[in-house]
């Protein structure tokens, strides 16, 4: 259905309309700004280590680099988090888990790929057991390096914060991960 009035006409299904109304409410400038400010300083990555870049990810949240300064707090269950950091190689077996974790996360959610193994396989680019995560998820920031320095992780957080504050993200409708296998 095409809505002539900027998609705010409340017709048809009640649930659908309620969702539209709340969306309209959320997109209004002062509220949207508040929302984006809060989200940008409250990026909680899920506790999901896919591979050895987890060592540098841990270093990034530990005393010397302390990512908690940005409000970045690795948290327990995917239900309470909003950021999926793929730390290194995503194997085929792990990709299944990653997809489930991504689905379990509430909107709005973001994805950062860390390390070359997650970008194009790095040294494992011709391995038979890895997948390219950017084919599965909509990715916000890519970090090169094997492993990237903790500063690069901090840089990616800063970039994501800017992206969020400039409202350059999509609030997907629970979009499913792409691809099979």
């Amino acid at each position: 259905m095409v809505c002539p009035l900027m998609g705010i006409v409340l017709v048809g299904n009640l649930e659908e309309s309620a969702r539209k109304a709340s969306r309209w409410f959320l997109e209004k400038p002062p509220i949207r700004n508040l929302r984006d400010w809060a989200i940008s300083f409250s990026l909680w990555p899920v506790h999901f280590t896919t591979s050895c870049c987890g060592a540098e990810f841990a270093a990034a949240s530990c005393p010397r680099f302390d990512a908690e300064r940005f409000g970045f707090l690795p948290f327990l269950s995917p239900r309470q988090t909003n950021l999926l950091l793929i730390e290194g190689t995503l194997t085929r077996k792990m990709a299944e888990a990653a997809k489930i974790v991504y689905q379990q996360m509430p909107e709005p959610k973001f994805v950062i790929l860390m390390g070359v193994c997650a970008l194009d396989g790095g040294i494992f680019h011709n391995s038979y057991n890895i997948v390219r995560p950017h084919e599965l998820f909509p990715v916000d920031v890519f970090i090169p390096g094997c492993p990237p320095r903790p500063e690069a992780v901090a840089r990616s957080i800063i970039m994501l914060q800017r992206k969020v504050r400039n409202s350059k993200y999509i609030w997907g409708d629970g979009h499913e991960p792409k691809g099979e296998d």
């Binding site: 085929r92 077996k93 680019h125 011709n126 391995s127 057991n129």
Partner: protein, 157 residues
């Protein structure tokens, strides 16, 4: 009596060959049906645990070589590694499991099954270990499983 003499005396009737390629390595080849016996004798010499179980695919000879590397915690034996190897047919790779001789073969043999398809008879849990459970291709460490290799030259306009 040094170690080499001991080993030769103990294993000369079942080994097809005993070699010493390096100072710290003793290579014993046996036929596949005598692997258990050979392993037990090596244990009796004091090589009480395995460092590795591996398979080497030899497509030209239509065989898979299964290699056990045994080491010891004993002070006088620990500098040496005993390599026990045998060959199984490539199209029907079956071998007696040695987990009753060397308990830590449990995962090592399971991995060899996973990666080369060598069936260890008597192994209690031969199922996928490292590969995804839905793997249905040929075992990846066989030589006819090819992975993509890239060239180094890219042409541009």
């Amino acid at each position: 009596m040094n170690l080499r003499e001991k080993i030769e005396e103990k294993l000369k009737d079942i080994a097809t060959s005993i070699e010493y390629p390096r100072p710290d390595l003793i290579v014993i080849a046996v036929n596949r049906d005598r692997i258990m016996e050979a392993a037990q004798r090596i244990v009796e010499l004091g090589f009480d645990h395995l460092a590795s179980v591996e398979g080497v695919d030899l497509p030209k000879e239509n065989a898979i070589e299964v290699i056990y590397h045994a080491e010891s915690y004993e002070e006088e034996l620990r500098n040496t590694i005993v390599e026990l190897k045998t060959r199984v047919a490539r199209d029907d790779p079956k071998l007696q499991s040695l987990i009753n001789v060397w308990p830590n073969a449990l995962y090592l043999e399971r991995e060899t099954w996973d990666m080369l398809g060598v069936v260890f008879e008597g192994h209690p849990e031969l199922k996928r270990l490292l590969l995804p459970p839905w793997w249905d291709d040929i075992p990846p460490l066989r030589k006819d499983y090819k992975v993509k290799v890239e060239g180094i030259i890219v042409g541009t306009k």
